[in-house]
């Protein structure tokens, strides 16, 4: 294991080289390296560097997307080998873009970063009606609900959903974080969300904070 070049693997993720990322994952698995070790030492550092450089404006969406694509190529080989508790070692998060809004790139990047960071991510997609969020929360009992909204015309759906969750007694054991172009920290406070994240890196940090995980 000590001979395996995790830095090179992280670099393949950072550069969005899906062939190299997949090939190195196969090599690592053949060498008997634990799947969680590959994620933590190879994939997470690569995605973290991508996220940090994106936040600093040094890279842009195309580089971020191919990086996430390379990570997914590796995860596709690793995931079947993970025990169920290993796939959600930081907890489960249900994500979605609210009713009437179909924007998904930011929400997808958050989902990939959270997955890479060790969360079990249930991504409900875009234009998600409140009843679908509620049904999934009842079934999956996630620790966190993440809501995304880009259109100002759909932002009110966040407040409406939170009211409904309260009414149905589902709010107490659930942390809610929001993000997207049409919301900000003030709005998060106004609707009573537990957190707001401006980008994918801060979304991962916020999610860890909400479930009480360090690092």
């Amino acid at each position: 294991m000590t001979d395996f070049d995790f830095a090179k693997m992280a670099e393949s993720v950072y550069l969005g080289n899906r062939t190299d990322a997949a090939e190195m994952t196969r090599t690592a698995l053949k060498a008997g390296i634990q799947p969680t070790t590959i994620i933590e030492n190879g994939l997470i550092p690569g995605m973290q560097r991508l996220g940090e450089d994106f936040s600093k404006g040094e890279i842009f969406l195309p580089e971020m997307l191919i990086g996430a694509d390379a990570m997914k190529a590796s995860l596709a080989l690793i995931k079947p080998l993970l025990k169920s508790d290993e796939t959600k070692r930081h907890g489960t998060i249900v994500l979605g873009t609210v009713l009437g809004d179909v924007h998904d790139i930011g929400k997808n990047i958050v989902a990939w970063m959270l997955e890479g960071a060790g969360f079990n991510v249930i991504d409900l997609g875009v234009d998600v009606p409140p009843e679908r969020f509620i049904e999934t929360i009842k079934k999956e009992t996630p620790q966190i609900l993440g809501l995304s909204a880009l259109l100002t015309t759909s932002t009110h759906q966040i407040g409406a959903l939170m009211e409904e969750l309260k009414k149905q007694g589902l709010r107490d054991n659930l942390k809610i974080m929001i993000g997207g172009a049409s919301v900000d920290p003030t709005y998060a406070v106004r609707v009573g969300a537990d957190g707001y994240a401006i980008d994918a890196v801060s979304a991962v940090a916020k999610a860890k904070e909400l479930v009480g995980t360090k690092g």
Binding site: G16, G57, I59, F60, L61, P62, E63, L65, I66, D69, L99, G100, D101, V102, H103, I105, N108, V126, D127, L151, T152, T153, S154, H156, Q157, A181, I198
Partner: protein, 409 residues
């Protein structure tokens, strides 16, 4: 001088950085806003009409002039665009109670939730669920239809991007006939990035740009060949002196792709399109949502654009900054904040007054066409929009005196 000539003169003076009699104006009203505004006019303006206004996402058919916000507020410019989908098709439309799914002339399949105004949404954006270009190799295989096909201009429009429930709208030429006596006309065509993502999906297109830039560049050139054809036919049929180029480079906090990538992939075809527009004797107004940093604005000026639209305030765009820095090279088309000013709680006229009058300083010396910083969405209360127009009427005549918000540029 007829109304349209008078308005064209006013608009072109602004485009040539001269002060006319007043600041010209244009607006794009979202169908949802028009629906709400018409009801407001019927009530507040006591307009007696049984007309059920036909609205689509970005278009409306209004017979009663008193119920047409563009005529009521005496806009100077009117947008007229034909079907400019790469493929001229009859959309395959499937509807359920909740959704409409349709194929598009962009080779994509979209799913759009049906409007339910009572539930707080109308004509929401479409979700792109499939694309005919499935790999970078498919770019070369895609065949464009003729951009000058007469059906695009003379047949009723059923291109789906404008449709709410895929309303069939009057033809481009019918639109021209109803507008040409009263407005200065402006056409519209999309540039390479806008065409690319509609045909391949945003994420797929971006990954191709990073991994297969040469294939993307070749396709962008073909997109611009098509755009030039559509533009030329619009100019021939409508004699419009202005053309919007739909671009969209930014989002709320920055650019969607790096300046280097923009320069490498999209700058050359954009410059070619702008040159072709100028060759027709027409001026080009580039539409780019979101935050466009100064370096991007400078690149757009280098590409030859004459005007920049819409300067989204919520994305940090500042019309006065652009005016001070680039006012001799660039006309501002936009800048009225549709989120925090016009979108303020109904009746918050102080907030509107401050933003509108401050922004109107950018009209000093000409070089400004008033427009909201994208469009007027349904979230803008009709009385707020009406107040903005009252300010325009009161303070929009040259020479400008902008009361407590007057500034020296």
């Amino acid at each position: 001088m007829g109304r349209s000539q008078e308005k064209t003169k006013r608009v072109m003076q602004a485009m040539h950085h001269e002060e006319a009699d007043r600041i010209p104006a244009i607006e794009w009203f979202a169908g949802e806003f028009i629906t709400r505004w018409v009801e407001w006019r019927k009530t507040v303006g006591k307009v007696k009409s049984d007309e059920q206004v036909l609205t689509a996402s970005w278009a409306a058919v209004i017979k009663n002039e008193e119920l047409d916000p563009a005529r009521y507020y005496d806009m100077d410019l009117a947008l007229a665009v034909p079907n400019s989908d790469p493929k001229f098709i009859t959309p395959d439309v499937t509807s359920t109670d909740a959704y409409t799914i349709a194929t598009s002339g962009f080779g994509c399949t979209i799913k759009k939730r049906n409007s339910r105004l009572e539930d707080g949404y109308m004509a929401p954006m479409a979700e792109y669920i499939d694309f005919s270009i499935k790999s970078p190799d498919d770019y070369a295989r895609f065949q464009f239809d003729d951009p000058k096909d007469p059906r695009r201009f003379f047949d009723p429009r059923q291109d789906i991007l404008s449709g709410d429930g895929f309303t069939v709208l009057p033809s481009y030429m019918d639109g021209i006939q109803s507008l040409k006596e009263d407005y200065c006309l402006i056409g519209g065509i999309y540039e390479a990035w806008e065409g690319l993502w509609r045909m391949r999906g945003i994420s797929n297109a971006m990954m191709d740009m990073a991994r297969e830039p040469e294939k993307v560049k070749a396709f962008c050139n073909r997109l611009i060949d098509f755009a030039v054809g559509s533009m030329q036919e619009q100019v021939r049929l409508s004699q419009c002196p202005l053309m919007y180029i739909w671009g969209d480079l930014g989002y709320k906090t920055g650019l969607m792709f790096s300046p280097r990538m923009w320069r490498d992939i999209f700058f050359p075809p954009l410059k070619r399109l702008v040159d072709a527009i100028h060759k027709e004797g027409v001026l080009a107004i580039y539409h780019s949502c979101g935050h466009n940093p100064d370096s991007t604005v400078e690149g757009l000026i280098e590409a030859g654009i004459d005007g920049l639209n819409p300067l989204e305030v919520k994305a940090g765009m500042d019309a006065l900054h652009i005016k001070r820095k680039y006012g001799d090279k660039l006309v501002i088309v936009g800048g009225i904040d549709n989120a925090h000013a016009l979108g303020a709680p109904a009746g918050d006229f102080e907030t509107i007054r401050e933003q509108v009058l401050t922004m109107m300083n950018a009209a000093k010396g000409g070089g400004l066409i008033l427009q909201t910083d994208h469009s007027v969405p349904g979230s803008v209360p009709p009385e707020n929009y009406d107040h903005y127009q009252k300010l325009r009427r009161e303070f929009g005549n040259y020479p400008l005196h902008l009361a407590e918000f007057d500034q020296v540029l």
